[in-house]
Symmetry: C2
Subunit: 379 residues, 2 copies
């Protein structure tokens, strides 16, 4: 695969945000170039490379080498893998470790890994010394197409996920799609949920392309994969450029998140990947939209079919309706009583609809594995 | 005094920062108007009012009442007074308390008190839900003329003060100078250190005005006090507008801070107010500048005389030269080996000079009470 991939040209997507604009570089086996790019885009003289064991460490070691080859000092810092590392306590440990190692205003923070390390590192970069330059080197599919772009950083607190955080745009996002070959299949599927989400809310052509060749994307054939990554980054970049702080448009990216977040909270963030939760939440939302006649009949079946081919679960974990209702109410996007629910109007188009929690999870709603099309399940 | 003050007109200074511009309202017994202003400038529907006991609480109660009168929900939150509250742990407690109380994106965070509550509240506002609108109601002189304007927020960590933080501009700064009548004299003096600092680095006319009537300012005569507050806010606003992120010009505001921070660190932030430390640091810096022939002879005497009239100490606490050298080196403004030392060139003008720690604290430097003009002392 790498032999074929080596001939695949790299691509660039630009996130337009005035003087905070930045490029997303997408390539195949391009990791040795990241050091020069970091130097060029940040002007830093030293780098703190944050990563998680075990897999990302291998990529991080190469990132550190590339940074040193570019003439910067570089040091690697590891945090335990998993959502639990996205905590104030872990951020506190990193502040200490980075300061002890001499972090100063000339230091760039570089995240190598998936969404957890990206969100946590970005938060540390946003808050250490009132903001240090930040670079994302995502090595999971979810991070490549979603979390590494857009400047959302954060940690979790007792009351919920990402409730503490900051908007802090990276100076550069550097994607080596070849790193996905080391990603466990379940993580790969979870990332595909965000790819499908982008297509569903924004781009019917991308959706159709996925319907014709999702298996080749999942198999990481670079000729198919790289254009899909590029298109996803374009969509994310366009939405973020037009609404950096999620005042409106950017909320569309929360498609599937209302019930997805609720499911994650009810499962106490255990046993469910974020992408899996979003997949289930999208299926639920699409069915709900059909029932409310917000989108044509058959829309949810088309979405479900693609999600299933990505190896993702369709049905939310089984909890009483009332538990879901409470979890939905607790969601941070609440203003007054109504929720900005992202409704699918047809494949390729979504809009937010202000709904009461009771409209999103109506009396008699069937939620949970086995309720209908009992395939997925949360594992 | 309030009888006379009631006829003193309020003043407005605008901090120009594009779409993040905001007004500073300066008045006398104007606290009942803050609620309407908060509503107008934030559009929030509820407010979390953060304060410290015992004195600020009295003002905070009136702020809460004014906010409720404007039709918003409002709730008061108290943290212990003192620099130790500027911690990640205290921020964590506030995240919990605010979220439990229903904080959402429609919530404005309002700080009522001095620099500690302002810095801490601003940091919580910057990071809770990725940034909530923020309003400063400073009730200490230091906060009115310095820390409430400019968007610097932060907490202390083991390695030093304000090493974790964010730039987060308030939407409004509301100053009721009458609240200074409840400020202990020592705190009033500490605030005067920042007033004198602004005059020394930026405005020879203000310096001369202070030389002619500093006692009337200290006595809080509104006719004299309000114009001085206004001019100080103008200076701070001008510097911040031209250099929000402290890339250059804003560094001038750190006059006296290199040795001041060192003294605070050596005293482990006990027994020394920030303004006192800055006062001592300014005297040291001015003498050092004279010795290096960076400013005319007599400059430091003129500065010392004014500082002394403000009831402030002149001499840094006694620690070995080597201890100061180590503390200066650890200062966060270090890049490579040199420090952006703020040098006084004459009364009313300063500039940054890159100096080695050894040049700032040279061999044979006499530091500490009794070294020379043994008046002040750190108490």
């Amino acid at each position: 695969m790498s032999g074929r991939g080596a001939s695949v040209g790299s691509r660039r997507v630009r996130v337009e945000l005035g003087d905070r604009s930045y490029p997303i570089e997408i390539g195949w086996q391009n990791l040795e170039g990241v050091g020069d790019a970091i130097k060029r885009h940040t002007g830093a003289s030293q780098a703190a490379v944050l990563t998680v064991p075990p897999v990302a460490r291998r990529h991080a070691v190469r990132v550190v080498r590339s940074i040193r080859d570019a003439g910067l000092r570089a040091k690697r810092f590891e945090v335990p893998d998993g959502e639990r590392s996205k905590s104030l306590a872990q951020a506190g440990k990193l502040y200490d470790a980075l300061l002890e190692a001499g972090a100063a205003r000339d230091t760039v923070v570089v995240a190598v890994g998936g969404g957890v390390i990206g969100d946590l590192s970005g938060y540390v970069a946003a808050t250490l010394l009132r903001g240090l330059p930040f670079v994302q080197v995502p090595t999971s599919l979810l991070a490549m197409v979603d979390s590494s772009v857009g400047g959302k950083t954060g940690v979790n607190v007792r009351q919920g996920k990402n409730l503490v955080g900051a908007f802090h745009q990276p100076r550069l996002v550097w994607i080596d799609a070849h790193t996905l070959t080391t990603l466990p299949p379940r993580q790969r599927s979870a990332g595909m949920a965000e790819v499908i989400k982008h297509a569903a809310i924004w781009d019917a052509r991308l959706f159709a392309r996925l319907e014709s060749e999702i298996e080749r994307v999942m198999a990481l054939e670079p000729e198919v994969l790289l254009p899909v990554l590029e298109r996803n980054c374009q969509i994310k970049a366009e939405v973020v450029s037009r609404d950096e702080r999620e005042a409106g448009l950017r909320r569309l990216l929360n498609f599937g998140h209302t019930l997805g977040h609720a499911a994650e909270a009810l499962k106490r963030y255990r046993g469910l990947l974020h992408g899996e939760a979003v997949a289930m939440g999208m299926v639920y939302a699409a069915r709900r939209c059909e029932a409310m006649e917000l989108c044509p009949k058959g829309t949810s079946d088309r979405l479900s079919a693609l999600i299933e081919r990505a190896g993702l679960p369709l049905e939310l974990p089984a909890f009483p309706r009332k538990a879901y209702l409470t979890a939905v109410r607790a969601d941070k996007k609440r203003e007054d009583a109504r929720i900005h629910f992202v409704a699918l109007r047809k494949i390729g188009r979504a809009e937010t609809v202000p709904l009461l929690p009771e409209e999103i999870v109506p009396a008699g709603a069937r939620i949970g594995s086995g309720a209908k099309r009992g395939s997925g399940g949360s594992g």
